[in-house]
């Protein structure tokens, strides 16, 4: 999409030189303001990373801004030595991997038939699914359902209830629909069945949309907090976000109630410990992000939304 926008703007340069002064100042202003917004967007993350590796004295005196001051690794080390956090990390990895796998299989299985115009009753199935996006039983009936099914206090309770997102099914369905019908006709001519066509031709051609939707599901699992806090009481099954919240909450209460006046030093150690836990919990996303962001920056995702 970037390319098109550029071809839209480029030809005007040589046409009107008169505007160049204005153009230049507009550009400077534009680049400056976008840089500033981007900076504000990521500053808290950079600051948190810096805090995680800074000495308590430096944090206390407000010296830590973009990079660590008075480098220490104790906070990060103590995160790594914290059994609870490591355990929560493993639980979260498990939920993310298994949960995303379930999501993808279910979403593909639901989206592909719905993308076929020759599927009798397609409209009814679509409405059946879309209605769930508009109306629902709400929190309590869903909670009681999980209870009845015996899912409470198991990790299934955070993987199964969100197994298919109607929204993602619609995105994927639109993407499948945009594939040329001739392709399928040719495959059918050659004696290829529906399932084989899906596995051998459709899926290999949908890398971008699979990556994007998979990313959304995975990030959703990684970041989800509500499900875990509602469905799970067993501390052994706490996810990373629940642990993180408990650690962050400690000092949140302190700052909001102003009870840490005399314990200033303890507070600051916790400050970098909190930051270190936050960084630890976020690193996986930061690692995956650069590889996957090209898909949605390029707009392969958007094409499918609009379709």
């Amino acid at each position: 999409m970037a390319q098109q926008a550029e071809t839209a703007n480029r030809p005007m340069q040589p046409v009107r030189r008169r505007y160049s002064m204005w153009d230049v100042s507009f550009n400077i202003f534009n680049y400056a303001i976008i840089s500033l917004i981007a900076f504000i967007c990521i500053f808290p993350f950079v600051n948190t990373i810096a805090n995680a590796f800074s000495s308590s004295h430096a944090i206390q005196s407000g010296k830590v801004f973009l990079w660590p001051v008075g480098i220490q690794f104790d906070a990060m080390k103590s995160v790594f030595w914290d059994d609870n956090v490591i355990r929560a990390m493993l639980v979260t990895i498990y939920v993310t991997v298994v949960g995303t796998a379930i999501n993808m299989v279910m979403t593909i299985l639901t989206a592909y038939p719905l993308s076929r115009r020759d599927l009798a009753g397609r409209k009814y199935f679509m409405n059946y699914m879309i209605f769930t996006m508009m109306f629902g039983g709400g929190l309590i009936p869903s909670y009681l359902l999980n209870k009845e099914l015996g899912l409470l206090n198991t990790l299934w309770s955070i993987m199964i209830p969100g197994a298919v997102s109607a929204f993602n099914v619609i995105i994927m369905k639109s993407f499948f629909q945009n594939m040329p019908e001739e392709l399928r006709e040719a495959a059918i001519m050659d004696g290829c069945g529906n399932i084989r066509y899906l596995l051998r031709i459709v899926l290999p051609l949908s890398g971008a949309v699979m990556a994007t939707i998979g990313l959304f599901y995975a990030v959703g699992h990684w970041n989800s907090y509500m499900g875990a806090v509602i469905m799970i009481d067993n501390p052994d099954l706490y996810t990373l976000q629940v642990r993180l919240r408990n650690i962050l909450l400690l000092s949140q209460m302190d700052t909001s109630l102003e009870v840490m006046q005399q314990q200033g030093k303890l507070q600051v150690i916790e400050e970098s410990l909190k930051a270190a836990t936050a960084v630890f919990a976020t690193v996986p996303i930061l690692i995956v992000y650069p590889f996957l962001q090209k898909y949605f920056v390029k707009g392969s995702f958007l094409g499918s939304v609009k379709g």
Partner: protein, 325 residues
């Protein structure tokens, strides 16, 4: 079909209808048979939606019953709308609804134009690399959890060690207790919503801008239009349909609010403005076991929501646009 044709035997083209029906029925069967494997694929998804979306809808019956866990939803006795009557007299409910609406309306007023403006600015950027890098940075907050975002906001705004208050003190101002004062808390809530959503929100507008005809810009340049004129007369009118659709959709969500953002940001000092429907239902329903009452509240909320969404979709269709679906 059969019943109908039997009732009107006098119709001269009965035979045709029968033949046609039989033909279309067998054709339908043929179509279903041919794609039997597709129906098998579809089955798990349909079952999933039935169990996890439709059964909880039946669970709404709890709102009308004296729900007893051992007797189950169906056998529990009816309670003659006791929860709905109780709801009207709940002292907090008024406050909760006000907070939900207030945060949503403010979020819309300030959060809705932000991605539009940013998308227009991004669209004027000519350097591909600059654009790509800033877009990556701008999208990042969208992928972070509210637990993390909330923790970072508390750290940044902490009255003692937060970098913002350090800066305020450095220029000689008093430290501000951002998360402890109602008005500041609301400001932070709205601001953090923009922070999380502004970059991601640009995507749909940027996509709409790529569909605009480059010749329009060229022709405008020929006629001596500058950057500003082109933005005002080509870009903005071009994305106006998208803006209208998204605005309508947002209006359709005015009574629903996410759980994680308010929950991550709230603290006991600001409950007067921070307690919203989602957090209230969680607290009263799950933490305190008030299943029936909160189901009733949730049901009213869902119904209003449904009405708003249908209304929004109707409005979108009325305006000659394809609705959401």
């Amino acid at each position: 079909m059969e019943a109908q044709t039997n009732k009107s035997p006098a119709l001269p083209y009965k035979a045709d209808i029968d033949a046609g029906a039989a033909k279309s029925r067998s054709a339908l069967w043929k179509r279903i048979r041919k794609n039997l494997d597709l129906y098998l694929c579809l089955a798990p998804g349909l079952v999933y939606f039935f169990i996890f979306c439709y059964i909880p809808m039946f669970g709404l019956l709890i709102a009308f019953k004296d729900y007893n866990m051992f007797e189950g939803v169906l056998k529990s006795p009816w309670n003659h709308f006791a929860y709905f009557k109780e709801m009207i007299h709940l002292p907090d409910l008024h406050k909760i609804i006000r907070n939900t609406l207030m945060l949503n309306v403010l979020g819309l007023v300030f959060g809705f134009p932000a991605p539009i403006i940013l998308a227009i600015l991004l669209n004027e950027v000519r350097s591909k690399y600059f654009k790509r890098i800033t877009q990556s940075l701008l999208y990042l907050p969208h992928f972070m959890s509210w637990v993390l975002m909330g923790g970072m906001i508390y750290a940044l705004l902490s009255p003692k060690y937060g970098i913002i208050n350090q800066a305020l003190q450095w220029i000689g101002l008093q430290p501000v207790y951002f998360m402890g004062e109602n008005s500041w808390w609301v400001t932070v809530f709205i601001g953090s919503g923009i922070w999380a959503g502004v970059g991601w929100g640009t995507i749909i507008y940027l996509a709409a801008m790529t569909t605009l005809d480059p010749h329009l810009y060229e022709a405008a340049s020929m006629d001596g239009a500058g950057r500003w004129k082109k933005i005002m007369h080509i870009t903005i009118p071009g994305i106006m349909p998208t803006i209208v659709i998204l605005l309508i959709l947002n209006l359709g969500h005015m009574v629903s609010i996410g759980f994680e953002q308010p929950y991550a940001l709230m603290n006991p000092l600001v409950m007067d403005v921070a307690d919203v429907l989602s957090t209230y239902i969680y607290d009263l329903g799950i933490r305190q076991g008030g299943f029936g009452l909160t189901t009733a509240i949730g049901m009213i909320q869902s119904l209003i929501n449904l009405g708003l969404i249908l209304g929004a979709n109707y409005a979108a269709n009325k305006m000659g646009r394809e609705g959401i679906w």
